[in-house]
Structures are given as structure tokens and as C-alpha cells.
Subunit: 346 residues, 4 copies
């Protein structure tokens, strides 16, 4: 092993950055965080204190300039991802970057080109691939347990919508929320999507519509290998986070249910019932966040391919742009159209 | 009650006709079958013998001419439905007719006009409305248990495809198989569908494709009240008959599972498992067939509206024609288009 | 087949008698009821009318004297069972008798001796053996799916206690309610019980205790083949009828759940839940009542052994007497003790 | 808070000791391990290295002599527990001790007396109380969700028996395995057990019988408040670790299922199935081990009562001794008997 322990620089000490900091510190014996950066220096310092990180800085460039840093984790605001990827690649650092790389294809392509030139590893933070339920489904498909896949369904509903202020800068539901499901679709089926068709609307909160976005969406996916799939999104499920998939194939079907805080079943004079599912992604996807960082560190330390590549980061953005165009124009949209003529938003 | 016992004439003694004959004889104390007709006289006679029906004839007109017959059940071949409806209506008989009324809108419209003129009751055999699982979902929606519906999913997969000879005369998957799901969609949501979009293909058997049909379909439904839904159809699920629905709304969600021959759960060194679901519609929908005939008899005897009307029989045919056009042309199709210009097939 | 259709005489037109009458009339094509007797002649006549039975009488001896009657079903009060069995056997009729044969071993033994002398068939009404869930468990054991059985658990709870007047004449919880579970235990394990130990008490209603009975019981069973089992009884489960079993063995385990009126699962802001189980035995064991009569008719018509014999009717009474003695004396009681010295109650 | 961070000394660096070391180091910010002792010094050193513990020693007395140590965790062999508790109490250390305190009541009583004299806190390692499923059941009982408890069932089966060498020194199934279930019974019902009755035998491996032990046990518990319960134990469940409880009461019932590595449900031509449950206690009770240490640290730091006391550690040993006596003598045994005359084994 060429590394005693991988030295990771953390860029961004917000919610997800601190989750990664905790996991790296406590569960990944082969890596240490040597430095944490956040433009809000106080946040960086608090994160450093919590995780016994030696150095906290405001400017991420200090992380990139540190020759002892082997790899960076980019957990800053979305609009900074592409630029920092480019700079980190130029600095020769391996890169883990939260999704999405960017909301614009030229920005993504520039970032990926820089990574290619530098020959560093890049992993995108599609953590759900590392969830035990979904990885079991992927294993079933790869292992032939359901035969040749025919149909795919993804249900992905949030417990409640984000603040309107966030909705306005989020890139819209398809690039903010569905993007995880686009990745899940590609991951499970192992093929590219060629065409999408979107139905949906504003059913949860008119303010989301006023902000130019949808809150309820149904996206049909046509894959290159003939599989047809759907994604069902809502910004508000009263019963909490609803995250399920089903794959049907020539040999059978596999489906997952939600995860719950306990499995107790209560029967009384009214009903037979259980408690609500784990409320949101921090509870539901706890294990996946550890697993993805483990995979990232392993890819570097053992020089294996990153399990979620730059291409995997780009494709869902194309799908998101196509899904929005389909919704706006009320027709199926081929991804090739978006490649030929990205939207201004993109 | 104006009837001592309703005198029903059965037209068609094939598989479904005999199911109805058995149910009427054994479970519906307020009705009797006085006569059964089948162009294969032997079939009529066997049905009569099994159910202690006094009279068996080859020509259904003998049933219509019998002044003691109050109502007829039309269980003959699809291509005869519309004509017999017209004749039965002219004869002043109340009518139960298996789905579909016809594969052509003009034929349907002529039949419904005859029913209207005669003032008789007409009920269409969409038995799944009377299944305890689906009627529980409908009750939840009507009772506000899931709030305002937003999204609907129907899974409807057969255990194995019908013979190719049947496929060729079936009217295609949308009018033969999906038609039940189109009805279920309207029944559950309680609103009309305005537009459909179809994806799918030939994934099970190329011979089905060679016959001009699909075997795997995904239909998106846009309802007039804004609800968006999907129907998932396959002609072949290795694990048997797969019949489930899910409705998601502002207040929550409700979903059904399959029915099973038993609920035993076996754990051994390999897995935790149960037996396969009830294999096909005769096993799965047993109760629904009794319930629908009960409702038909009740509608006549107590002069209530039929619970599944001629309009309910017509709408799914329009949806089926639109779904096929959508598949052929690769675009969403509004039902109004089909009304304006029915396909030649129709 | 020596019988065109088996001619059955029904003795007792109370609740369970009428269930059998309906099932025989509508589901068993190989048998007819030629006569029904009930000391309340009106009840017999109403039953006859409902099921098109030609003859209704007050005195069951008229049934026994009818030479056209092949078999009788004894559904009268418990205290008449043993005597009518003897008389029916002497009259050469095959016999189906509701449980228990009697509450006293000498009475049972006299009845069984009469059956033996007459060489007629006798089947006892332990309908639960014919329930699809429990028969699936039995199949698993016979088929070796759980290996050699080690442990057995039976949960059997009623939705609410019977009237105190009934409790007083019922023979007590062990002979009235647990008797079904004693039979289930022998049926599933396929071996005899040698010793029982009972714990329990009066937890539901002090009036049951005042009547000399328990309402909550836990019975431990030691089988001759080494299996150890438990029976859990309560006279009152707020959520309805609770009927489950579990068998654990060297190769695995199998367990059953309750049956439900539908399988819809509702998620809202409070819980994920389903409707209560089927409320009581008429709903839960509907299929088993048809199946057991089918088996009885089949045993006679095809001259096969009755599937639930006189010995099967006697053994649970011994177990019930032993269970009560164990409870009274606070110690394990071997069944051989009861055989040697039946209680006065017995 | 009187402690900056609680300084914990770990005694015993075997399997469970290392689990606690990891959890204390990574999940309990309010505590640090300052020293680890194991008579196998290498084990102590390895544990220290893994968890960045400053000091590793062979003799636990060095931990007790360290004035900076606030509390100790006793994870050494069972036969050392009572003695180290006494010494730690004399040294003024708060104490967490793995179960059982000892296999003999006089030894336990001496240890508890020392704790009382010293006024330190003592918590026993019954981690299952802190499992989310079982704590949910306890909450339901405390919160009145099932009314007044009547019946309790605990299923507790291991995936495979321990080595015979271990069986011989384990104290027997009741003190080694059932002891957890005895504690669970007291925890859930919140009352003391007064009498036990044991059935069971050697069904898994004759060598266990040859070692004087059982491998399959059924224990009936009579609680002081009238509740009746059962514990079902097997040393070998082919499908893995089987850990479930059910409590039935006047208002309803609550039951738990096993935990699984994922919730994917696979349907194919053979069955509808899922993967086996989490295999053994390290996987199944992961969270409970963290939770119990959290509770221990919290009890000291915030001067609250320990949630599992010395009395809680003693009672299951009495129950285990009584259960064995009941098995040996084939009769119910009151716990008062054991108190009056402990077995030589005890």
C-alpha cells in the first residue's frame, strides 16, 4: 500500500461535509483528514474540533496547495463544484465531489476534461448506490436472479419540500432531487437512457410553481437496451421519506421497501400498524455515506477505478435537462437533443 | 321487491359464462338462471346440468324471446357483444355484458344508444372493481384517507401470454389486457383521463411482435383533475399473476399487495420465503365475480343505478385506442384525438 | 362410485349446522341433504327452505330411521353428541360429528365402541386442519421442509368471551376453546402428547373466574417424540381473532400469520397500517368448513379413511382434562394419569 | 458537568471488550479510554493501537490504581467479574460489567454489597434492552399501547452452538444464553418472576447433552403481577439468529420481527423470498452496544441511576438456577426456593 494513511482535505464543512468528516474520522482507518476548509472559517474550525482535524482554513486553495494532501472531498455549494474540480485536478489531487458536478454541460465537460488531463481519480457522491437495499437489487440483476430486465420503477418522495429560497437556486426538481433517481436508474439497469418523457405538476405548494419549478413528477425512461422505467417524485410525503425500487425481468422481479426505525408491529382495536419509516436521508442512508467514502479511499489506496465516475456524474444532468424540456414541451425528448442543444438553464 | 327471484338468461357458456352460472346459482338467492344459450349446444347443456338450469338452447335469440327472462348476461365472444346488447335492449332485457363492449367506437355507440332508448340497465363486467383490495383503495380515496390524490400506479402482469391465435384476434394488449387497468384507473381516481403516453415493446415473445402486438407496456395517464398515473403490463411474470396498485396523495398513500394461497413463511438455511401468489384471475378474483353479479342483481331488483355503466365500458376502449396510437407514433395522444378520428382498427 | 349422490341427514340446524347445510348444498356436487332435523322445528324448516332440502323434522330419530340416508352430520348440542353417535352407528349411518364428542371419557369410549362395532365411518369436526395456512404447515413438516420438529407454538385468541351462561356449560376453556389447539398440536406434529403443564388465570373478566373457569391460558405440551410445544389462549384480543402457529425444527422454521379482509397498506402522518384481521371463525375458517365436508363425503364415497377419526376426537378431551388438572394443582400432569383416573367433570 | 470527558479504564480486550473500545472511542464524545488491561498484554496493546488508547497493561490492578480513571468496564472472563467488581468498588470506580456477574449467588451478593458500600454506580451489560425493537416494545407497555400485559413470548435462537469446550464452562444454557431472555422478560414486563417451569432437551447435538447441558429449552415464567410468559431457546437455527418478542395485553399486542441485512423481496418461479436475517449478535445488536455505553456514561456524567442495576444482574441468575432445577426435577420451581437453597452449581 503506497499510503500509510490517505491524507484527505475536506472542502466545505456544511451538513454533508460534516457527515463525511465524521465517517472518515471514525470508520475509515486507512484515511485521515489533514485539513478542512470552509469560507465560513468558524464552520471549518468547529468541524476540525469535532473530528480532531489539525488544520482549519477559510480558503480551499490552501488545501489544494498543501503537498501532503492526497485527495480532496468537495462538499461546497453546487456552483463551486466544477471550478474546484478543475483546480484540484491541476493540483494533482484525487477528487470526491458531491452531486451535481454543475448544472451546465459545458461546465461539467470542462471539469471532466481537467480530470482526464491530470489523470486523477474522480468519484461523484451518488451515495444511494451504496445503500444495502439498492445494492442488493443491483446484485440480483448482475447475478441473473430476475433474468433480463424489462421494467423499472423508482419511487422517491421527500418528507417535505425545501424552503422556496432554496428551490429557486436548486436547478429545479430534476437536477436537485430526481438526479439521484436518474443515477439509480443507470446504476440498476447498467445501460444508458436514450429518451425521457415527463408528466407532473405543482400539487404540493403553489409557491414552488411560482418559482418556476414542479413538486410532483413522473418521468418515463427508455433505455438503450429496451428497458422501460419510471421515476415517481414528490416533494411531500406525509409519512416521511419514501425510497423504493422495483425491477421486473424475464426471470422474476425484485423490489425494496423503506427502512424503519424498528420493526415492532402493534395490533389494537383500530389497526395493525408500525411506526413511520426513517424520516429523511440522513437516517435512511447512514450506511451508504460510510460505504461510499470507503469505496473512494479504497479506489485511491489500491488504485482501482472509482465506482462512480465523471461520466456517471454527467449523465444524470443530461437526463435532468431532457426531463425538464419534456415537461415544458409535453413530448418525449431524446437525450441526443440535449447534447446537440443544451438549454440556456443548462 | 317487484321480483320473486330475478330470472336471468345466460348467453355464452364458455369459461366465464360458467363461472357466472355457478355464482348465480349458488350465491345469489334473489336470482335464478332460467335459460342458457351457447352456439355449441353441448356446452349449454353441460352448463345447464351443472347448475340445474331448466332450459339450454343454441340460439341466444330464444333467450331474448322468452318473456319470462328479466335480464341477460352476455358472455359470448367479444365480436358479438355489441349486437346482442342492441337486440337485448330492444327486447327490453336488463343487460350484464363482459368487457369489452366492442373494439370499435361506432359499434359501442350504437349499442349504448339502443340501451338508452330501451331504458334498460347495462352493467359491464369490470369485476376487479369488486375485489376487496381495490375496493379498499377506492374507499380510502373517497374517505379522504390519502387526501387529494396526486399519483397512481397500477401493476398488472399475467403469468403467461395467451396463444398467438388468440393474440391475433384479441384487439391487442391495450384492448384485451390493459382495458381492465384503464377501468381500474378511472374507478380509483374518479376522474376521466385526457391524455396517454405509451412506451413498451416486445420483450417476452417475438411471435407476439410478429402478430402486430406488444407484450410489455408502460402507459402514462394524465387525468382531468391533474393526477398522473402509470400502468405497467407484462404478458409474462414467472412468479404468477401480479396485480397491485398504489395511490399517493396529499395526506398519505395506500397500496395493495398480491393475494396468496396461504400466508405461511418458511425460513431455512437459504432464505425466508412464502409460496407464489394466486396464479391467475380465476383464483385471484374469485370473490369479485360473485360481488359483481350481486351488484347487478341488486341494481335491477332494487332499481338502483348499475355500478359499472355503458360509459364505463366505452371509456377504456378510447384509452386503449389512444395508447396504441401513442405507441405507434411515439408521442402523447389526447383522447379527444381518438374521438375525433377513431383508428381503422377501432 | 357406489353413490349417485351421497344422501346426508343433518341433525341440528343451529349456526354451524346451517353453515354445513349451505356448503353441502352449494359446493359438494357429490352429496345432497335429504333431511334436516332440529328439536326447534322452525329452525329445521328455515334451514330446509334456504337450502332446498325436501324434509324437515323435529326428531333426529326420523333421520336415523330413514333408509335412504347414507350419512348424518351431528351439529346438535354437545351433550347429545355421544348418544346420537351411538344411535347413528347402530342405524348403520356414517357420521360426521362436531367437536367435542363428549366431555366425559366413558361417554366418548362408549360412542367410539358403537362406531367400531357398526363399522361405519366417523369424522370429528376439527375444521382447522383444513385451513390452507395450517395445512401448509403440516405439509412442510411432512415434506421435511423444516427438518425434525423441535418446538411448536400455537397462538389462539378469541375476539371476545362468550356469554357467562355459555361459559358455565362449556366444559371450561380447555374443552371448549383449547380443544381445537390440542387437535392442531397433534395434527401438526403427528405424535401424541404425554404430559401437559398449564399456567394462566382470570385476566379478562372476573365473572369468568366466578364461573370456575379461566380466560387466559398457557399450556406446555410434551410430545412422545420429544417435541415441546405451547398453546397461548385468551378469550379477548381487542384486534380480533388471532390464530397463528410456528414450528421450529432442525432444518428451519415455518410460521403463519392471520388472514385479513384485504391486504391494503395505508401510510399517513401517523403510521403505516392495515385493517384488522378477519374477525372470527366464520370469516377466518370459511374455506376450512367446505374442505372438511368435502373430505368427509370423499371418505365415504371413495371408501377412504376419515381424515379426523374418533381417536382424534378423544385425545384432545384427555388433554383438556389434564390441562385443567395441571392448572388446579400447579404441576405437570401426564395424560396417563387422566386415563387412569378421569376427573368427575370428565 | 463535573467531567471534561469521563476517563474509562477497559478491563479485558477480547471480542466484546474491543467492541466497547471502538464504540467508546468513536461514538461517545463525553468519554475517553485512558487505559486498557488484558492478561494477554498483546491483546491489550492491539486494542490500544486500534483505538488510540494511551496505555496498555497486563494487570487490571494497574487500571484500578490509576487515580485518573473514573470508571471501569469489566469485559474479562466471567469467573473474574465478581472479584473485579469488588476491587473496583473499593477503588471508588464506577463499574460497567458484562453479564453474568457470577454463576453463584453468594459471589454476586458479595460483589453487590461492595458496590453498595462504595456508593459507586454499577451497570450490567444487558445490551438487548437498548435494541430499538425491544425498547419500542417496552415503550408500548409503559405507554399503555397494549393495555395491561397478560402474556409474553420471547423467541431467542442462536445460529449455531458454541464449541463443546465452551459449553462445559458456560454455566449451562440458562446462565449463558437464556440469561439475556430472563433479563428481557423482567425489562419488558417490569415485574419480578416468582416461578419458572422448564421443558426442553437435547435435540441439536448429543455432545451438548453429554456435557450435562440442554440445547433446546422452553421456560414458562409466572410474574408477580400475574403475567405468564414463555422463553423459547435453541442453540441452532439454520436460518440464523432468531430474536423476537410478543406481548399481549388487555388493549392489544405488540410483536417484533428479526432484523435483516436488506429488505429486498425477490419473486421468481419458485417463491417470494428475502435474504436471511442478520446472522448473529454482533450484526443484530450493533446499535444496542453503542446505546448501552452511552447510557452508562450518561448515568455517571449526569449522576443518574444506572439503567441496568446490580439487582438486574442478580435476578436472571436466580431465574437460571431455578430453570435448571425445574428441568432436572420436572416440576415448577419458585425462585424463593433457590434463594433459600442455592444449588451447588450456583
Amino acid at each position: 500500500m503506497p499510503f500509510e494513511a490517505l491524507n484527505v482535505g475536506l472542502i466545505g464543512a456544511g451538513r454533508i461535509g460534516r457527515v463525511h468528516a465524521h465517517n472518515l474520522t471514525h470508520f475509515i482507518p486507512t484515511a485521515d483528514i489533514g485539513c478542512v476548509a470552509d469560507e465560513r472559517l468558524g464552520a471549518a474550525e468547529e468541524c476540525a474540533r469535532e473530528n480532531r482535524i489539525e488544520r482549519a482554513v477559510a480558503d480551499y486553495r490552501a488545501v489544494l496547495d498543501d503537498p501532503t494532501v492526497d485527495a480532496v472531498m468537495i462538499c461546497s455549494s453546487t456552483h463551486t463544484h466544477a471550478r474546484i474540480i478543475e483546480e484540484a485536478a491541476q493540483a494533482g489531487k484525487h477528487i470526491f465531489c458531491e452531486k451535481p458536478i454543475a448544472l451546465s454541460l459545458p461546465a461539467i465537460d470542462a471539469a471532466l476534461a481537467a480530470v482526464d488531463r491530470a489523470g486523477v481519480k474522480l468519484q461523484i457522491g451518488f451515495n444511494r448506490r451504496f445503500d444495502p437495499n439498492f445494492s442488493r437489487v443491483r446484485d440480483a440483476i448482475v447475478g441473473g436472479e430476475v433474468g433480463q430486465p424489462h421494467l423499472l420503477h423508482i419511487i422517491s418522495r421527500d418528507p417535505s419540500p425545501p424552503p422556496i429560497a432554496y428551490v429557486k437556486v436548486s436547478g429545479g426538481i430534476f437536477l436537485d432531487m430526481t438526479i439521484h433517481d436518474f443515477d439509480m436508474a443507470r446504476f440498476l439497469i447498467g445501460a444508458e437512457v436514450e429518451e425521457v418523457y415527463t408528466a407532473g405538476g405543482v400539487m404540493v405548494d403553489p409557491a414552488i410553481g411560482a418559482a418556476g419549478d414542479l413538486d410532483t413528477a413522473l418521468v418515463v425512461l427508455k433505455f438503450a437496451n429496451g428497458v422501460v422505467g419510471t421515476i415517481d417524485n414528490s416533494r411531500q410525503a406525509t409519512y416521511g421519506y419514501d425510497q423504493r425500487v422495483e425491477v421486473f425481468g424475464s426471470g422474476g422481479a425484485i423490489r425494496t421497501d423503506n427502512d424503519y426505525p424498528n420493526n415492532a408491529l402493534l395490533s389494537d382495536a383500530h389497526s395493525v400498524r408500525r411506526d413511520l419509516p426513517l424520516h429523511f436521508f440522513m437516517e435512511r442512508y447512514t450506511a451508504s455515506f460510510v460505504n461510499e467514502i470507503n469505496a473512494f479511499v479504497d479506489a485511491i489506496v489500491n488504485d482501482r477505478p472509482a465506482p462512480v465516475t465523471g461520466v456517471d456524474g454527467r449523465a444524470p444532468v443530461v437526463m435532468g435537462l431532457a426531463a425538464r424540456r419534456s415537461y415544458d414541451e409535453g413530448r418525449p425528448v431524446r437525450l441526443a437533443e440535449v447534447e446537440a442543444q443544451p438549454t440556456p438553464r443548462g
